[in-house]
Point group: C2
């Protein structure tokens, strides 16, 4: 039931039509570990931050059971920083600034006891860094899931293809699936990605929901129709965190259980977008999560 | 169980990445009546065509039980014609040509026995023409549904608002719902459209599925993930035809039954896009329809 998470822990400046926030806690691994911590007590973090990062957030993660032995803190350096502005429709955003800082030469080093983790979530990072993590596992995990983005397809497609051969699941959005496969139809895209290695393909469509493909099996979960999406930042990582956290908790890789995991991931993502950054993920109750999950179930429930 | 359908019967030239077809049978009412005819034997057509229209299609509609007493045939005139080309992703299209012809001065006249129809589907037409139909009903139908488009919001918003007050249901796509309401969130858009008159709001999102809103009740049906969308022309009208046909067949306006109707409409639309124009709708079997409906049910089925 241990979930190893590799990804960024970072600062984000975010502008949406609803306002702006500076130096909010962000980064893929922040969202993933926070979301996963509601499901499994053994979340292990591999990441890197500078000495500018607030210890209060690390304490908060610790209180939520997130193991930080794999978190490198670089003295005299600054944390990864991203600034972006969302368009009015929230479906597009402009990156205003990216400062790699500590991420520039990030070499993930797994503490000894991380190397036997059963579930692995490789957040969006250089494919070579993701590969380095896999190579340090002492036994084959039950499930390795990987996120990536168009940027790596543009500049590091060869190493992305190498790491795809080593993972069980790819979790990406629709545009990325199309770029990676060269197919517009998501059914075709999933089939082509299967051939690259991953047995499971999860395609996130943002406000339009998410698909899970395993061979001929296909499942679709909607996104919750919301009055307002306050800030979409981190929704995809939160989805992945809830999804993998639920799998690590239940230790059941049947298609039926993966479907449930998709619903839990979608529910967590629906909370994420209600506030800026990670704010909403830091004080959820199990009751709220269960109620949200039931809203997803009711939304599509029909008897024919 | 009688369904009155008002809309265009027309010729379409269609270009998609898969090929092209000239003078295909099209028009909203062609798709609506064909789709509805699989569910209810009493489909009544109000439309107008020129003398250039092939009698073979009218015979085919007749064989499917579609009453054509309300179909005006204008001697010496030409039928409505539209030509369009889809982009590679099928989500956008350019209109290459529109020739109103007989539609320019279409005045719908309801035969006496149409005036007591219980269900009414007003296909996309000038709002004033849609209003003229409502005014000729001798008693309040059980359900009047209306489709419209951005074009009428641009040039005839006042008369559109007038007819919206008289209908029970608006069936439009997401972009139209946003333009009509001024709200980006579809939840907000539906609430604002409710205030304009319609008790029910159906918002079609094309490949992303469809929402049904009735006050606080909301239901979402996915679109079927397909290997290829061959030609999206008429999918929205086919959805409306299957939806209204199922309601006319079952005569049940409960929310649970409207949800089933959405699934049947979605299933019919999924057939429509498999071939050019109305081709696929002209030889379906009840078995095929039932099997397709069950694919929709399985696609979202989850037990949590």
């Amino acid at each position: 039931m241990s979930l190893l998470t590799v990804g960024t822990v970072a600062f984000d400046n975010i502008e949406t039509p609803f306002g702006r926030v500076d130096y909010a806690i962000g980064g893929a691994a922040s969202y993933i570990t926070l979301a996963a911590s509601y499901f499994t007590p053994e979340v292990r973090l591999v990441s890197v931050i500078g000495e500018d990062f607030p210890v209060s957030f690390l304490e908060e993660l610790k209180a939520r059971g997130v193991d930080q032995e794999g978190l490198q803190i670089k003295a005299g350096e600054k944390s990864f920083f991203w600034a972006g502005r969302y368009h009015n429709d929230m479906n597009a955003r402009d990156t205003l600034d990216t400062q790699l800082n500590v991420l520039a030469d990030f070499d993930p080093v797994l503490p000894a006891r991380y190397a036997a983790s059963e579930y692995v979530m490789l957040g969006n990072l250089t494919p070579a860094v993701q590969m380095r993590v896999i190579q340090q596992m002492e036994k084959r995990p039950r499930l390795i899931a990987l996120d990536t983005m168009n940027f790596w397809m543009d500049i590091a497609m060869d190493s992305l293809r190498e790491v795809l051969k080593e993972v069980d699941m790819l979790i990406i959005n629709d545009e990325e699936a199309r770029q990676l496969s060269g197919a517009y139809s998501l059914v075709k895209a999933a089939a082509l990605i299967h051939e690259m290695g991953p047995r499971y393909v999860v395609i996130k469509k943002g406000e339009h929901g998410a698909f899970l493909f395993e061979g001929e099996n296909v499942f679709f979960a909607p996104a919750l129709p919301l009055l307002d999406v306050f800030d979409p930042t981190g929704a995809g990582d939160t989805f992945a965190g809830g999804f993998m956290g639920y799998i690590a908790q239940t230790e059941d890789l049947s298609f039926d259980n993966l479907k449930r995991a998709i619903i839990y991931g979608s529910a967590m993502a629906s909370f994420c977008v209600e506030r800026f950054g990670t704010e909403r993920l830091r004080n959820l109750t199990q009751d709220e999560i269960q109620q949200r999950v039931q809203r997803f179930v009711r939304l599509v429930h029909v008897e024919v």
